[in-house]
């Protein structure tokens, strides 16, 4: 499904991973996180530095928020620390900071079913940040949200990254989102997935709302679009065949 992917992530970079549905973007992310191993072939990961503090070096934000419905917002964010052996009270204390970072300090005691989709996603991001990960993996986290909510979350994520400079890999199928968020965009082909474009985005570090309508932004998006179109569009040989 995936072929010869050699991926070097510069520490502190923000990488967007684009590609058609089913090309193996999510699978690649699961390989990087160690949640899955290839059935054939091998994967070599250069290890991250070992960390003295409790918590995981890798954090994962899934497509849906994946919160525990029986835990309050604060307790959901404290969960990774609890699992790492931090006692409950200090875990809850440390969970306040990332929740403040995503502007959810006033809903700490609410439960997931009392939140909007965008708020749940912010809780999920706060949960990922609570261990101060070196590598943050996001798998189409905002795909289910409406366009404006998604843009606002993109802006917030970019600001959080600028403040912390952890390494981020962000899987998406939205061109504009990739161009707005990342410093480097990788475009994958349809199956078997290969990286067909590795592009450093020529955009200012500080991204404003106006950027989305600027000529430079449109140019950069167009580069991604052409690569995706060339390698990820319909495979005409398969049209008409059963899936």
């Amino acid at each position: 499904m995936l072929e010869n992917i050699d991926l070097e992530l510069t520490r502190g970079s923000f990488v967007a991973l684009l590609g058609p549905s089913g090309c193996g973007k999510s699978t690649l992310l699961r390989f990087i996180s160690g949640l899955a191993t290839p059935s054939q072939g091998s994967i070599e990961l250069t290890p991250l530095s070992s960390r003295p503090s409790a918590g995981s070096a890798i954090a994962f934000v899934f497509q849906d928020a994946q919160l525990l419905p029986w835990r309050s917002v604060l307790d959901n964010v404290a969960l990774p620390l609890e699992l790492a052996g931090v006692d409950r009270n200090s875990a809850r204390e440390r969970a306040r900071k990332p929740l403040a970072d995503v502007e959810l300090s006033d809903v700490l005691d609410r439960y997931p079913d009392q939140l909007s989709g965008g708020m749940r996603m912010r809780v999920s991001i706060a949960r990922a940040l609570v261990t101060e990960p070196e590598l943050l993996l996001l798998d189409e986290p905002f795909a289910a949200l409406d366009e404006l909510t998604r843009q606002r979350l993109d802006e917030r994520l970019r600001a959080l990254w600028l403040a912390r400079k952890m390494t981020v890999v962000f899987v998406t199928h939205a061109l504009a989102e990739a161009a707005y968020l990342a410093d480097r965009a990788l475009v994958m082909s349809r199956r078997p997935g290969k990286i067909v474009l590795d592009h450093a985005l020529a955009l200012p570090e500080l991204r404003t709302q106006d950027l989305r309508t600027s000529a430079a932004f449109v140019d950069q998006t167009a580069i991604l679009y052409r690569a995706l179109r060339a390698h990820g569009g319909f495979d005409d040989s398969q049209v008409g065949e059963p899936p």
């Binding site: 995981s56 994962f60 899934f62 994946q66 525990l68 029986w70 969960l79 990774p80 699992l83």
Partner: protein, 261 residues
């Protein structure tokens, strides 16, 4: 309670109440009009007056049966949940033992009851074990199904953070399993009363109080059909109340866990 809530409650209670009143009236008038002998089908009024006349001994029997059913049910809850948990942790154990747990479900309890008397002696213990045997399997099966039904992506989350098995069980699998376990408990609560009555048929004679199963047998031998009806009615009411109690407790728990059901 608001007017609206009162109205909804009434609209739930009124139809079955209406059915009950009609059925009782029909029963009473049919028995009288057709001159059915009272030892075949007594009219409701006779059942009620028999129940009132024997209220002291019926109440004692009810308590005895309740004790047997409840202790058997609690044993099922504890052991059934534990066995379900153990099965969920090891496919190997599950494959090796599940078919034999199924045996508990299929064994004809009436045929086994004499064995229980041999092993446990007549009285409460044999009755409890009978209630246990009949009610434990739905708990094992539902606990196992619940523990296995965890969202795989939440499982991923726990694996990503290197969760220990104990944490995964306590903080993810058990809370996820509660809705399914509650279903098992509800089914088991009704079955436990049936198991207790069957146990009493065979093992109920002992020093002290006789349960409702014994009352049924004794009333049958004396052709006291009115008393027999009263005892059967009480046994059903016991099953219903245990079911209602378990339903109430589990819906409280589910609301606390904010489970969808």
């Amino acid at each position: 309670m608001s007017d609206r809530a009162a109205e909804t409650a009434w609209s739930k209670v009124a139809p079955p109440l209406f059915t009950l009143v009609c059925a009782v009236a029909l029963w009473e008038s049919a028995v009288r009009a057709l001159h059915v002998p009272a030892f075949l089908v007594p009219p409701p009024s006779a059942v009620l007056s028999a129940a009132w006349a024997e209220r002291a001994s019926l109440a004692a029997s009810l308590l005895t049966t309740a004790e047997g059913a409840l202790s058997g049910f609690l044993l099922s809850v504890v052991l059934g949940s534990l066995v379900g948990l153990i099965f969920s942790l090891s496919r190997w154990l599950e494959r090796g033992l599940y078919p034999y747990a199924l045996f508990l479900q299929t064994v004809p309890i009436v045929a086994v009851a004499p064995l229980l008397v041999l092993w446990f002696g007549p009285g409460l213990r044999a009755v409890s074990v009978s209630a246990f045997i009949v009610s434990v399997f739905p708990i094992i099966a539902n606990t196992l199904a619940g523990l296995r039904s965890v969202d795989p992506r939440l499982d991923d989350l726990f694996r990503l953070y290197g969760a220990k098995l104990g944490d995964t069980v306590l903080k993810l699998r058990l809370p996820s399993a509660v809705p399914s376990m509650a279903t098992g408990f509800k089914v088991a609560s009704g079955l436990a009363v049936i198991g207790a009555i069957v146990g009493e048929f065979v093992a109920g004679f002992s020093e002290g109080n006789a349960g409702l199963g014994i009352t049924v047998l004794a009333a049958y031998r004396q052709l006291r059909t009115d008393l027999l009806f009263a005892a059967v009615l009480l046994a059903s009411l016991l099953g219903l109340s245990l079911f209602a109690l378990v339903s109430g407790l589990s819906s409280l728990l589910l609301r606390r866990l904010r489970a969808e059901w």
